[in-house]
């Protein structure tokens, strides 16, 4: 039990490092098309005694189930640490192509797209969480600590934001912006919007803790000894809030990643050819993709594992928190 937290943390850090260095780990660029291999299934990696290798796949117009045959005349060894133009963790010599997650309708490597897409979606989620928690903590602490008029004004505001139908708000914001935004601009737009709407819930949580925390004896003692409000907030109240904020973070990140996915799924997120998890899962809206190409689900399954790690973390944090409180 004691190991859950460090293990979960290590897993998450590992996953995020993987995505952070996706340019190196992914064998191909996210937009690179191989027009001879649309909807090709995951490349089979064969194992010889000393090295793994693959074969080139050729389209056979649905004579086999997948529609692709392996051309066994030539082996292409899978090399580690390749250095051709760009360096990559692994790769095969051209015309061989290794796609661990198969390819999409334009012959783009799904594995590379998954890594690039996950980087964008996860970091959008993390940044949005950071923004929402920063705003939420500030506003919640102010409201809880000063009370009375400040409290009721800020909390009515928070309720207003909680009641806001954010998808419609996003649609409206998107309509005001120029036709085309670069992926970077869209990324920050998503972060700002999701973060700016999401502060209300953490603010209410923090406010509750501050309300009870400011009545504690050591806080009252500090006050009577003449500590300034800023000092008390920083030195005595903030540490009480940390635990809740951290547990919230572990909960909010997957939630906000999901928000990005929803938006891209609706076509409001990052535009083609950039990948995001929402774009990748959006392909599954088409019936023929769902029914014919099972590998298109792989990003979704991988996502499930990431979310699972986050929830394990949140759980462990909460447990730790209770322990401290007791």
């Amino acid at each position: 039990m004691k190991l859950t937290l460090p293990l979960g943390l290590l897993t998450l850090i590992g996953i995020h490092l993987l995505f952070l260095f996706c340019g190196y780990i992914a064998p191909y660029d996210e937009a690179q098309q191989d027009r001879m291999a649309a909807f090709a299934p995951p490349t089979k990696v064969h194992l010889a005694r000393s090295y793994p290798y693959i074969y080139v796949c050729a389209w056979n117009a649905h004579e086999t189930d997948s529609g692709y045959d392996e051309d066994c005349s030539q082996k292409f060894a899978v090399h580690l640490f390749v250095n051709g133009g760009d360096s990559h963790l692994f790769g095969v010599a051209s015309p061989g192509r290794i796609s661990l997650f198969g390819t999409d309708g334009l012959g783009r490597d799904q594995f590379s797209r998954f890594l690039f897409g996950a980087r964008l979606s996860l970091f959008a989620g993390i940044l949005a969480t950071f923004l929402a928690l920063l705003l939420g903590t500030l506003i919640g602490m102010t409201a809880g600590f000063y009370g009375s008029f400040v409290d009721s004004t800020l909390m009515r505001f928070a309720e207003l934001f909680l009641a806001l139908p954010w998808i419609y708000l996003l649609l409206a914001v998107r309509a005001f912006l120029p036709l085309h935004l670069s992926p970077i601009q869209t990324f920050f737009l998503l972060v700002v919007i999701i973060g700016a709407i999401g502060w209300a819930r953490p603010a209410r949580l923090v406010r509750g803790i501050v309300l009870s925390g400011k009545e504690r004896n050591f806080v009252l003692a500090a006050k009577n000894l003449g500590a300034s409000n800023g000092y008390i907030l920083r030195r005595h109240i903030l540490p009480q809030v940390y635990g809740v904020v951290l547990a919230q973070a572990a909960l909010l990140v997957p939630q906000y990643v999901l928000a990005e996915i929803t938006l891209s799924f609706l076509g409001l997120g990052v535009g083609e050819p950039a990948a995001s998890l929402g774009n990748l899962l959006g392909e599954l809206q088409q019936y023929h993709v769902i029914s014919s190409y099972w590998w298109m689900f792989l990003p979704g399954i991988a996502l499930l594992l990431i979310f699972f790690s986050y929830f394990v973390m949140a759980n462990a944090l909460q447990r730790r928190l209770k322990f401290i409180a007791v």
């Binding site: 649905h62 334009l106 036709l179 085309h180 076509g267 083609e272 050819p273 088409q286 019936y287 023929h288």
Partner: protein
């Protein structure tokens, strides 16, 4: 006691008699002597049964005069008939409500003899008054019928005169090529039902979707039975229809035809797979492959009809009046207006990849607006050159374009060349096309952004605000003849989408296309028209106002049990012979 039973018996008998008479009214009427029926040459089938088909959206109206949407057309097309009809299989005109027609030597007068003794679906006889009334309605400017444009030749409407009860004369202001094709899809209206509404100026509002079926009648194979909003439209047999099978039995074979509203293509595929619908059309190659794979086990018959008349194209905004808000557009247009630039873009596009990736091989690469399906009008001398990045770069170099060291293309004035392509978000195929073009043009140093947007918003930008840089769209052909495309190619045409609302051609080649199209319209000899239209195609291929990309094959399917299933590459692909369809 006895009395009550007796009364009950009489009552039951009366109900039975009423039912009998109702049934008799619905059953096909025997052919009366003197009735000029048409005889179908198709295989004789079995009478009875019901055919279901899915529609993407609900009809907006049942009024054939004012309808503009596809769903309404699909339904009303079964309810009404025209004088002369384009046979979807042979692509030739054939007599429909007209028994025969004669063209005067100067090509200005069409004398049409109508069928004798035929009736509307409510049993009222049809004659020349209905024809004259119908054309009066279509030609009335206040009615705003979309068909009016076709019936106005050189700003003068066709004059329609009744010669006797079964003969009508049509007078044209100037010779009009293939004028008999104009009559296709002009539904003949029942004067006895609509004359009053027309006099009151309410013809536009009559026969809307809330109208009662008893208020409507037509000369088509079916008549409206019920409309359940959100669910379906049911048509029933027109017992007075004017076509019979070879055994002199009155068509149609089907008792009923049901249109279900299924909003997405994917849902339509699922309904078709599960057996809820009997025929399907307008499907993508991906879904076609899906259905083809298990056609054996599910008893389906999937048909790839080969190339259709639809052509997809990329075009640039060449409008002379553009919104001030689009501040960079005017500068970019200086590049778009260069023929060399458009030629280079065309040379750099990998059309074969579009066919392979978007249509899974079920399509044809295009060089002009005329697809290979249109054997009669296609200019075979124009050959599509293979994609060549070198050729594209060569064209650009000669037009004083340069490249930055990092490969970015610079216009002659020194600014980087980049633009945004709009595509319809609901059309995955066209967005995919735009993504392929994006990747292709990267090879010659052009940065392209693809912006999928809601279709109506896209049309609004192209046709109203002119606030766009480039777009991918498609035009379908209802007919092989060039005339329906007049509005695309003449300068002031409503579909002249790269430069709208102009009356004076901006360039010599646009002036030439304009005059060629007008000239072919009044040329009667087919060979001469072909020469003129060949030149139009050459001009389009050289100057690329529309950069034609690809044409998808027409992909349709039906259950094996549907008889006389004879799909056509012309719209409506599967229901054009609905009177001959039957369930085995």
């Amino acid at each position: 006691m006895f009395r009550i039973t007796w009364v009950r018996h009489v009552f039951i008998l009366a109900v039975l008699a009423a039912a009998q008479s109702l049934w008799a009214a619905d059953a096909a009427q025997p052919v009366r002597p003197g009735e000029d029926v048409a005889v179908s040459t198709a295989e004789s089938g079995k009478f009875g049964g019901r055919l279901s088909i899915a529609l993407r959206s609900e009809p907006k109206t049942f009024n054939p005069v004012t309808l503009v949407d596809g769903s309404s057309r699909e339904i009303t097309g079964r309810l009404h008939a025209d004088l002369l009809h384009i046979n979807r299989a042979s692509q030739q005109t054939e007599p429909a409500l007209a028994k025969s027609w004669k063209v005067s030597k100067d090509g200005l007068t069409y004398t049409v003899a109508l069928r004798h003794g035929i009736r509307f679906s409510d049993g009222v006889p049809f004659d020349a008054d209905d024809v004259v009334f119908s054309f009066q309605v279509y030609l009335d400017e206040k009615v705003h019928s979309p068909q009016r444009d076709l019936l106005v030749v050189n700003d003068k409407p066709i004059v329609v005169k009744k010669l006797d009860q079964y003969t009508v004369a049509f007078q044209l202001a100037q010779p009009y090529a293939a004028a008999e094709r104009l009559f296709d899809n002009i539904a003949i209206l029942p004067k006895h039902l609509l004359a009053k509404a027309y006099e009151q100026g309410k013809i536009g509002e009559s026969w809307n979707i809330s109208a009662h079926p008893a208020e409507m009648a037509g000369l088509g194979p079916f008549r409206l039975k019920e409309y359940l909003p959100g669910q379906r439209v049911t048509l029933e047999r027109n017992p007075y229809y004017w076509k019979t099978n070879k055994e002199k039995k009155r068509l149609p074979y089907l008792d009923e035809m049901t249109f279900l509203f299924v909003p997405s293509e994917d849902a339509q595929i699922i309904r078709f797979q599960s057996g809820d619908t009997d025929v399907i059309s307008r499907i993508s190659a991906d879904n076609f492959a899906l259905l083809e794979r298990d056609q054996q086990s599910r008893g389906l018959h999937m048909v790839d009809l080969g190339p259709g008349l639809e052509f997809n194209f990329l075009f640039f905004n060449l409008n002379s009046v553009v919104p001030k808000s689009a501040n960079t557009l005017a500068a970019k247009q200086q590049v778009f207006r260069q023929v060399a630039f458009r030629q280079a873009v065309s040379a750099a596009i990998d059309r074969d990849a579009i066919i392979k990736l978007v249509y899974r091989g079920r399509g044809t690469a295009l060089v002009t607006q005329v697809t290979p399906a249109n054997k009669l009008w296609r200019n075979d001398k124009i050959v599509l050159q293979k994609r060549s990045v070198d050729r594209a770069k060569d064209i650009l170099r000669r037009a004083n374009f340069t490249w930055k060291p990092d490969g970015t293309l610079l216009s002659p004035s020194g600014s980087p060349v980049e633009f945004t392509i709009l595509s319809s978000a609901s059309n995955a195929q066209r967005t995919q096309m735009a993504t392929i073009i994006q990747q292709d043009l990267k090879d010659i140093g052009i940065t392209v952004q693809v912006v999928p947007m809601e279709f109506r918003a896209l049309l609004d930008r192209v046709f109203q605000s002119h606030d766009y840089e480039a777009a991918v769209l498609a035009l379908g052909g209802g007919d092989v003849d060039p005339n329906p495309q007049m509005n695309v190619w003449v300068e002031d045409g409503s579909n002249h989408m790269w430069d709208l609302g102009e009356t004076k051609p901006a360039t010599p080649w646009e002036a030439e296309i304009d005059s060629l199209m007008k000239k072919q319209l009044s040329t009667l000899k087919v060979a001469d028209r072909k020469k003129l239209y060949d030149r139009v195609q050459q001009l389009v291929a050289d100057n690329l106002p529309l950069i034609c990309l690809a044409s998808p094959n027409i992909l349709v399917g039906a259950k094996n049990k549907v008889g006389n299933f004879n799909p056509s590459i012309l719209d409506p692909y599967v229901l054009w012979n609905s009177e001959e369809l039957f369930i085995r």
